[in-house]
């Protein structure tokens, strides 16, 4: 079970969180023209890297905040966590 540092609550067990996918995907702006290709990329296309991956988790059984987690998909090592408004470098 992963041990995830919520930037609001501190270290908590994985079972308090729910996974939310790739955090680097940006939704096209509302009311803005978007090509089919860009839209399809946004809805469907995801990278599945082996190694570092910045992803979203929601602390559903805690503060309910969505957070960013930089995790190694092969080893599960977590390098960094951040609020969604913060950058992970």
């Amino acid at each position: 079970m992963l041990y995830i540092k919520c930037p609001y609550c501190g270290l908590r067990a994985q079972k308090e969180f729910s996974y939310g996918g790739d955090a680097t995907v940006k939704r096209p702006n509302i009311n803005e023209e978007v090509s089919s290709k860009d839209w399809d990329n946004f809805v469907y296309m995801r990278k599945s890297p082996r190694g570092k991956h910045i992803e979203l988790w929601q602390h559903i059984a805690g503060c309910r905040q969505w957070i960013k987690v930089q995790r190694d998909t092969a080893t599960h090592e977590i390098f960094q966590t951040a609020k969604v408004t913060e950058e992970i470098r």
């Binding site: 939310g20 509302i30 978007v34 839209w39 559903i60």
Partner: protein, 998 residues
């Protein structure tokens, strides 16, 4: 029966307390502190089971977790458990143990004929033999194999015991209380760290209990006791015996299995049987010690053959002799201690040492005590069927591949030692790549992967001095980093014997023309020749060899066989062991009960039960409940002998004709507040929300970004910046997360807050033509006329003195209202409604009637919004705005969503107007067509239309409305039904929606 093999005084057992038990029906006794194994051996019983494949007689081999053979079916405390390790299970009064895998008895086992047919049972036997004809597999081969294989019998009774889970956090977890573990725990505790020390056995101390050593002038055992006593007195230390750390998971999470009460005669009903600990440790010390490995020789599985350290443990811990004429067969010095222990107890052993004549401290001691030592010797084959009677031994030539002399000596037990294998299982589970240590011919942990530090024998240090030093240093350094405190501890003076080098010898050669079985893995009956066959047939990867031969599989996980198997493969392949590599170590290290894994999550405690404030009323009024997620909802209220069908029909009819009330508390409710709330709703829902006035509700549809309908519900504008959203019961949690996602991540600029209020409000729907009359009685001071409170209107008013919200919304398609009061007032509201509603013929209705009402109206719900439909599929395209953007809008233009023949919602009625159409039926043109019969759609929801008094269903069907008027078949192979149906509109009742506005 007298205990012929019990010593007079040795051992740590309590001789003042006799414990009686039975083995295969025979009454026996042992003492408190015995294991089943030690008590049986004390009674001279060695034959305890039959082997897996050949049904060969098997006895005890080890004295703890390493035991491959002695798995018994044990009955105690009113339950029966299979595959119990006799060397670990403590004796309790009244326990009854029986042998497994033998019929009719362990003494005479018919399956043993396999032993004489062994040439037909080589490695891969099952794979090769039971292949053809294919049809034989299910009826002939599989039942036969199932009957012949397997160990114990699982109980089919309900487990009445209590199991618990516990979550714990600590600075340092120490796994194993041998010398290095004790030292680590002690040093860390002195630094103020929060320490958990776990010991698998009932007694602390590990090898200190059996080794002839002294620490600071105390015997090993006394020193261990002193340290444990001090640790137990420290508030920052938890000391646990009978506790096996069996798994090392991600982020330093370890799982421990505690045997809480199986050894107790009496316990309170609240005492759990076993407890599972999830331990998150900042640092972990792996002081799991090592396991002695055997030397392979002929018939080495005969009862009476032991690991030499196990034989010593039986003497020193249990005061039991494994035999009175022992042969000690070794390639190293440690087995000499076993010989010395025999000698001390007036038993004369013979030592066969594969090494050439040499001397060391312990050899000299043995010599000085007059023990018969034969160098360059080994056991070739053990004689005796159910017990060792003699052994053919040989003097090895210099090449160690042939014999100078062969003779037979009498013996009643053989104690074998092929040196020591560090227990690296936990380290390997943590992700640590192991490395091969030439010096000890075994794998030890390599670079740390998590926060694990292996110390002592688990790290390949086999001297006490090194283990203690290792333990103190690591325990101190690791904890100091956490606590910032460093207490100096003097490393104690150690007195131990110095051992010479071991012999890299692991398998006895065979003389010409002799071919006895030489087992590598006892539990799975894998012999040297099996591994040779696997390699000859081309298996190369050690993982493949393992699976083909089953080497190292099953409950003992190859604890005594893995390295010998690797040695064998590397010899045949002419490789060195590290090139062959090792198989993967996986949790659990030892078998654990299913009950422990499940813990308290059984029956009612499997998941939380959510009950509405009106639940008790429903119960009292014969409600039959249905699960809606975690919620319990009344499905129908049973009157007399009514069936579900009759009751739901009565309830639904009453709503259509009079008035009914329904508990709708379970609907998800979300409070939405903020100046940008309208804008937010406008983006979330497909329809327009900017102009909804205060005091009005609106039906809304929300999509996922891929255009699929996610949920529907009404949202009401309570005040300028305050909205009340409802969701379906099933989607409540998902919708909240969805809204939070967009507010926190996508549009953080919107000033909106959302919070779930599902449990703050109790809700009741009042539906039916007489609902307004009833409402006016419930709110005598309120104008509830169609003008004052129109369809989709909203009002706040006092309900007999309590705050309430009135929504004029309808799911049933009738004139209807929904009243919300604070949860605490839910029961009050409900009872008041029942009282006031009497004169209007009010009856409560459950979810079944609710479904009927919505289905015949053509209102969609979960079965239609099944994660595959877009708004136009379910006739909701009128709610999709063309003017504004919203979540998922861009996806609606996708080609596949816009083809004419796309499956869309329709209604179905049976031609005979009688046959109910099973939900899930497929719609086909020709019911007799050859398979695969082209599927035109499926039946999503079915009901008995109370309005038209015949069955009616909703279906999602190709070409949708274009099919209206045509006839098809709805076939359900599952229910063995095929019903001819006609396609009609999905709005079967009141298609213009007049009633809700009336």
């Amino acid at each position: 029966m007298s205990q012929l093999f019990r010593l007079n005084k040795e051992g740590l057992i309590n001789r003042n307390k006799k414990i009686s038990f039975t083995f295969n029906g025979k009454k026996l006794f042992g003492y408190e502190g015995d294991t089943i194994a030690s008590a049986l051996i004390a009674n001279g019983i060695h034959l305890v089971g039959r082997s897996f494949k050949y049904h060969r007689p098997r006895g005890f081999f080890g004295a703890g977790v390493e035991e491959p053979n002695a798995k018994l079916q044990v009955e105690f405390n009113g339950h029966s458990e299979p595959n119990v390790n006799a060397t670990e299970m403590e004796l309790v009064e009244g326990l009854s143990a029986t042998s497994q895998n033998c019929w009719p008895s362990v003494n005479f086992d018919i399956g043993a004929i396999n032993n004489f047919l062994k040439m037909f049972f080589p490695a891969g036997f099952y794979y090769k033999t039971f292949m053809w004809p294919k049809s034989f597999w299910y009826k002939i081969y599989e039942p036969f194999i199932r009957k012949a294989a397997g160990l114990g019998v699982a109980s089919i009774e309900k487990d009445k015991e209590r199991y618990e889970h516990k979550f714990e956090y600590c600075d340092l977890l120490v796994t194993g209380s041998g010398p290095s573990g004790l030292a680590s725990a002690y040093a860390a505790a002195k630094n103020g760290a929060k320490v958990i020390l776990a010991e698998d056995k009932p007694r602390f101390g590990g090898t200190l209990l059996t080794d002839d050593v002294s620490i600071d002038n105390l015997s090993g055992k006394d020193w261990a006791e002193k340290i444990i006593t001090e640790l137990k007195s420290m508030p920052n230390v938890t000391v646990k015996n009978r506790s096996q750390v069996f798994g090392y998971y991600d982020h330093n999470m370890l799982v421990m299995f505690e045997r809480v009460s199986d050894h107790l005669e009496k316990k309170s009903k609240f005492t759990p049987r076993q407890r599972l600990w999830y331990i998150r440790a900042k640092e972990t010390i792996l002081s799991t010690g090592s396991i002695e490995r055997p030397i392979v020789f002929g018939n080495n599985d005969t009862p009476g053959i032991f690991l030499s350290a196990a034989a010593k443990e039986y003497m020193k811990v249990y005061g039991v002799l494994v035999g009175k004429k022992p042969l000690i067969f070794t390639n190293n010095d440690s087995a000499y201690e076993t010989a010395l222990e025999f000698k001390k107890n007036n038993v004369e052993p013979i030592i066969l040492d594969t090494r050439e004549e040499h001397s060391s401290e312990v050899i000299d001691e043995a010599k000085s005590k007059g023990i018969d030592i034969r160098f360059s010797h080994g056991v070739i084959v053990a004689n005796g069927y159910k017990k060792v009677k003699s052994a053919k031994i040989g003097k090895l030539n210099k090449d160690k591949n042939s014999f100078e002399r062969i003779e037979t000596v009498d013996c009643d037990c053989i104690c074998v030692s092929g040196f020591w294998t560090p227990s690296v299982h936990l380290a390997s589970q943590s992700g640590n790549k192991l490395k091969y240590e030439e010096k000890i011919d075994a794998f030890i942990p390599d670079k740390k992967k998590q926060h694990e530090t292996s110390v002592g024998a688990a790290n390949g240090s086999f001297t006490l001095e090194e283990s203690l030093k290792n333990g103190f240093e690591n325990g101190s350094n690791l904890s100091a980093k956490i606590t910032d405190t460093k207490t100096e501890i003097a490393i104690p003076n150690v007195n131990e014997k110095k051992y010479g080098a071991h012999d890299k010898f692991w398998c006895m050669p065979l003389p010409k023309n002799e071919n006895p079985k030489r087992f590598v893995d006892f539990q799975n009956d894998v012999s040297v020749s099996d591994i040779e066959i696997a390699l000859r047939e081309g298996y190369r990867s050690i993982e493949h060899v393992k699976r083909y031969t089953t080497l190292g599989m099953a409950t003992d996980q190859g604890r005594t066989s893995n390295l010998n198997g690797l040695q064998l493969v590397s010899n045949i392949e002419n490789k060195i062991v590290p090139e062959v590599g090792h198989t993967t170590f996986r949790p659990p290290f030892t078998p654990i009960t299913i009950g422990t894994i499940v813990g308290r999550e059984v029956g009612m405690e499997y998941m939380p039960t959510r009950k509405t404030p009106m639940h008790e009323w429903h119960e009292k009024n014969n409600a039959v409940f249905v699960d809606a997620g975690a919620w319990k909802r009344p499905r129908y209220y049973k009157q007399g002998n009514e069936t579900l069908f009759e009751a739901s029909k009565r309830e639904a009819k009453n709503v259509r004709e009079n008035v009914g009330i329904c508990d709708v508390t379970t609907l998800g409710k979300i409070d939405i507040k903020g100046p940008d709330a309208a804008e937010f709703l406008n983006r979330v829902y497909t329809n327009a929300w900017m102009k909804l006035p205060v005091g009005k509700a609106r039906y809304g549809l929300m999509l996922r970004e891929d255009g699929i309908v996610m949920d529907d519900g009404t949202t009401t504008r309570i005040s300028e910046n305050h909205y009340h959203m409802t969701t379906t019961t099933a989607q409540a949690a998902n919708v909240l997360s969805h809204l939070e996602y967009y507010l926190q991540i996508v549009w953080p600029e919107l000033n909106v807050n959302v919070v779930s209020t599902t449990e703050q409000w109790a809700g009741a729907a009042i539906a039916g033509p007489k609902s307004r009359d009833m409402l006016s009685k419930l709110y005598p001071n309120l104008d509830v006329s169609n003008e004052a409170l129109p369809f989709m209107g909203y009002k706040e008013a006092e309900f007999f003195g309590v705050t309430s919200r009135i929504f004029r919304i309808s799911f049933s398609g009738e004139l209807a209202y929904e009243i919300n009061v604070k949860s605490d007032h839910g029961m009050f509201m409900w009872e008041k409604m029942m009282e006031v509603g009497k004169e209007f013929g009010n009856q409560p209705y459950g979810t079944e009637a609710l479904s009927t009402l919505r289905i015949e109206m053509g209102h969609v719900a979960g079965p239609e919004l099944d994660g595959r439909t877009i708004p136009s599929d379910v006739s909701l395209n009128g709610l999709v705005s063309k003017k504004k953007d919203f979540i998922g809008k861009n996806s609606l233009g996708r080609e596949a969503f816009n083809v004419e023949s796309r499956q869309k919602i329709v209604g179905l009625i049976p031609i005979d107007r009688k046959s109910s159409i099973p939900e899930g039926s497929h719609i086909v043109q020709d019911q007799n067509a050859k398979l695969p019969n082209p599927k035109l759609g499926h039946v999503s929801s079915s009901c008995w239309s109370v309005e038209n008094n015949n069955p009616f269903s909703l279906a999602i069907m190709k070409d949708g409305k274009n099919m209206i008027g045509k006839k098809f078949f709805a076939v359900s192979p599952l229910k063995n039904k095929s019903i001819e149906v006609e396609v009609i509109s999905s709005h079967y009742v009141d298609p213009e929606g007049k009633r809700v506005r009336s």
